[in-house]
């Protein structure tokens, strides 16, 4: 069955859609659009589409990915037109392209993500101090963080190898960070973990509700584009 890769954005009210609800939302949009989607076999058939790395609730995504299988070939432009017109506010199609029928699942291709983070501080921050925090963090040979799993057990992980890029600028009491970190089924770092470690180094006073994260882009290993 012909396979299509869809790049879309999830912003505004749609950024609060949970991953489970996003499945439902796309399933309904696909039906409204009348796309000839392929169905899984079995007792309770469901449309064949799959998502890349889930976004945390509340985090906007500029370039997210999903794959969809259709029962017949369709020009990608027609998919943009029909599905794009059936999506609720905040979900927009950015690009659609056909991929080989046997290409690996989108989830398995995703390796890293690029984020922009705006940090609001309670007071102006010295630019030099902020620079030092970043370079100190990047200079660490390892960076152990503690995570709690679903059963409530604590486990430590070294996140340093998964931090590929960390840059930032301070404007008074606001800092804007750009980071690329490990994302996907082979290991995942949450941007909040990096921020916690970074602001912890310099004891930087982050304001209440002062962390604003946007996921800009998802990459294949080595930072290669997924648009192929």
């Amino acid at each position: 069955m012909p396979r299509y890769r869809i790049r879309y954005s999830k912003k505004g009210p749609a950024r609060f859609i949970s991953h489970l609800d996003l499945l439902r939302t796309f399933e309904r949009a696909i039906r409204r659009a009348g796309l000839p989607v392929a169905f899984s076999q079995g007792f309770n058939p469901h449309p064949k589409f799959s998502f890349g790395a889930p976004l945390p609730v509340g985090v906007p995504g500029e370039n997210e990915y999903m794959d969809i299988e259709l029962a017949e070939e369709m020009p990608p432009g027609d998919i943009v037109k029909s599905l794009g017109g059936a999506l609720p506010g905040g979900l927009d199609l950015e690009a659609v392209f056909q991929v080989p029928d046997n290409s690996p699942a989108i989830m398995s291709l995703i390796d890293r993500a690029g984020y922009t983070v705006r940090l609001d501080f309670n007071e102006p921050i010295d630019a030099g101090l902020f620079e030092r925090c970043m370079s100190d963090l990047l200079a660490l040979p390892e960076l152990q963080v503690t995570r709690t799993n679903k059963e409530g057990r604590k486990k430590t992980h070294d996140i340093r190898p998964g931090i590929f890029k960390l840059e930032g600028v301070v404007y008074g009491d606001v800092a804007v960070l750009e980071m690329e970190i490990k994302t996907g089924s082979a290991g995942n770092i949450r941007p909040e973990e990096v921020i916690r470690e970074l602001t912890g180094i310099g004891n930087l006073p982050v304001a209440e509700y002062g962390i604003h994260i946007t996921r800009n882009v998802l990459y294949a290993p080595g930072g290669r584009s997924l648009d192929e």
């Binding site: 505004g12 009210p13 609060f16 859609i17 949970s18 039906r31 609720p88 506010g89």
Partner: protein
């Protein structure tokens, strides 16, 4: 406000409750609209968005060029805390405007246990709680829905109630408001009271005796003595949304709700819906098929629920289901029946339509003995039930749920024994049908009878809390050795308070306000309900709630809701009450013989059964 909202939304549970922006939501150009209405649902988003009435009225109002309707729901307690902390007023989902900016705020009262949420939403909107404290600079506060049929506990807080079906009367209110919005609040309310179905409580002077009955009653300023409910005729052509709002998040009823008929004439004597939604009106099969196809196209849902009080009573249900399956099955769209009548026909139908097999079927015999089922006019026999469950087990279901009520008028120990015996017989039917022993399950759910206004049982006392608890314990003990029977019961304190409010009067307004001030919210949610708060509220106002729940009214008493006319003759309800006490059944008026409830002549309407046999109601034998 917008910025603060963006900041706090990531920090509350289920933020999609508050964002708006869903598919088919309607945002109009605010400044070009004459009358702006907020539909206020006093429960969380997931509950409110499962309510068909909201979708219908949203469609009706937004179809007008001169009016708009936006939605607001009760914020969950975490969001309430955030909004209050940041001093943000309660806002509508569509344009994110404070409720105070609207001309009219329209609450729906689906359940008595949402009343404190009504007060809380008014307060969060920054509006004076009481009608007397508001003027023409505040939005007009109106309320409708089933609990408006005894509006008295909320009489001090709501400016005008809408009694009966809202589709047409809301239009009348908008038309009037357009030309009289400049009037003082008092003058506007007097004008509103001239619309049939609109009840303006401030135009009625009511005093009560110690027994709870009305001792003096006066309508002033030309308000009618009785407010007669509104009801739609030509239901087949009633406005129905083909573009309902489709939530982002999973809601309680997350599917198309296609209303196939309104009303129910089975005449169960405890049932308020059976009275207030009379007469029975069906849509034609053609209309339903057309609406079903449009709804699937416009929403993208993969399931249609055929909703009504009793869908298997739809005259041409089988041909309808066949037609819908023919049109929609190839699109992967399934059909579901929300409730099943207790008979084998209904089970066969469920087997035919339910593409996605739910694990259990639910039946409501309501009472355990034939005597008690005759008292409540349930019209179901043990044979009906055993046929139904045998058909279910035979068709591959291995779990059934049975709904019963305890505390019904005149209930004896043997009636409770009947519930346990019936549950065991159902279990045995499962064993006989060779349902795998590991999977066979019978769930018995016992709720407590709540006497409701406008029913044949409106005069009856509720069982005391102690009696209800004892009966629950008795049943639990009786069923505990049956490992395959699960027994659930409702919190009796909730049912008690429901009875107090359902038969309450204006003296409860102070109690409601006190309970709300003490922190009562979401009283219908067992995790939020705190009876202690209510206990304190009653005590602070020197009101004994037992006098409301446990009082027995006499036939001659003027009841606190007697000026609200649901169309069914009070003499008929008395006749029905006497028949109940004698254990005599009253047949469904659909079956051909009109028992004479008096509604059709009083409201100049007839049952509508398009596609069924033509129907001629008999004269009221009581007159």
């Amino acid at each position: 406000m917008q910025q603060t909202l963006e900041k706090i939304l990531p920090h509350v549970q289920k933020p999609s409750r508050y964002t708006g922006g869903e598919w088919n939501a309607i945002i109009k150009e605010w400044h070009n609209i004459d009358v702006k209405i907020a539909f206020a649902f006093p429960d969380v988003y997931e509950v409110g968005m499962s309510h068909l009435g909201l979708q219908i009225l949203y469609h009706v109002v937004n179809s007008r060029r001169d009016a708009l309707m936006e939605r607001v729901f009760a914020p969950w307690m975490d969001m309430e805390g955030m909004l209050r902390k940041h001093r943000m007023p309660l806002f509508s989902l569509e344009s994110r405007r404070p409720l105070a900016d609207f001309d009219i705020v329209a609450f729906t009262l689906q359940y008595e246990m949402t009343f404190t949420n009504v007060l809380n939403m008014l307060d969060m909107a920054g509006l004076p709680l009481r009608s007397a404290g508001r003027n023409k600079n505040h939005p007009l506060i109106i309320a409708g829905g089933p609990s408006a049929f005894n509006p008295e506990p909320l009489a001090d807080f709501v400016d005008a109630f809408v009694i009966g079906e809202g589709e047409e009367v809301l239009g009348d209110i908008i038309d009037l408001y357009k030309t009289t919005g400049y009037l003082s609040r008092e003058d506007l309310l007097e004008k509103l009271a001239t619309i049939q179905g609109v009840y303006v409580p401030s135009l009625y002077r009511i005093q009560y005796g110690t027994d709870g009955s009305v001792t003096s009653f006066a309508a002033v300023s030309g308000a009618p003595e009785k407010v007669v409910k509104r009801v739609l005729s030509d239901f087949d052509r009633a406005p129905f949304p083909s573009n309902p709002v489709v939530p982002y998040m999973g809601v309680v009823h997350d599917r198309i709700m296609l209303e196939v008929l309104r009303g129910c004439t089975r005449g169960c004597r405890f049932c308020q819906a059976g009275v207030i939604y009379r007469p029975v009106r069906e849509k034609s099969p053609d209309t339903l098929a057309r609406q079903a196809v449009e709804l699937v196209q416009n929403t993208g849902y993969d399931e249609i629920s055929l909703t009504s009080l009793s869908t298997t009573d739809y005259t041409r249900i089988r041909p309808l289901v066949t037609e819908l399956l023919n049109q929609l099955e190839h699109k992967g769209v399934g059909i579901s029946l929300p409730s099943l009548r207790v008979d084998a026909f209904s089970v066969d139908l469920a087997k035919e339509v339910q593409r996605v097999r739910r694990s259990s079927l639910t039946f409501a015999p309501e009472a355990g003995s034939q005597r008690m089922r005759d008292v409540i006019n349930k019209g179901v026999t043990e044979e009906n039930l055993l046929d139904a469950v045998t058909a279910s087990f035979g068709a591959g279901w291995h779990a059934v749920k049975l709904y019963f009520m305890i505390g019904l008028p005149g209930e004896l120990e043997e009636d409770l024994d009947g519930i346990a015996e019936l549950a065991i017989k159902v279990l045995q039917a499962g064993l006989q049908c060779r349902v795998a022993k590991g999977r066979l399950k019978v769930t018995v759910s016992a709720s407590s009878f709540v006497p409701k206004s406008h029913t044949a049982f409106q005069w009856e006392p509720q069982n005391t809390l102690g009696e209800l608890k004892r009966k629950q314990f008795y049943l639990k003990e009786k069923l505990k050795k049956e490992k395959k029977i699960a027994f659930n019961w409702h919190d009796p304190e909730t049912s008690f308070l429901e009875a107090v409010l359902a038969r309450g009067d204006r003296r409860l307004g102070d109690v409601l306000e006190t309970a709300w001030r003490l922190g009562a919210r979401f009283d219908g949610w067992s995790e939020c309900f705190n009876y202690d708060l209510w206990h304190r509220a009653f005590r602070e106002n020197s009101i004994d709630p037992g006098e409301y729940a446990y009082r027995r009214f006499n036939y001659e008493d003027v009841l606190p809701w007697d000026h609200i006319d649901a169309g069914v003759d009070k003499k008929y309800l008395i006749w029905e009450h006497k028949r109940a006490m004698a254990g005599v059944l009253t047949p469904d008026c659909r079956a051909g013989r009109c028992p004479g409830c008096g509604l059709c002549p009083a409201l100049e309407i007839k049952p509508e059964l398009p596609g069924g046999d033509d129907y001629a109601p008999l004269q009221n034998p009581l007159q």
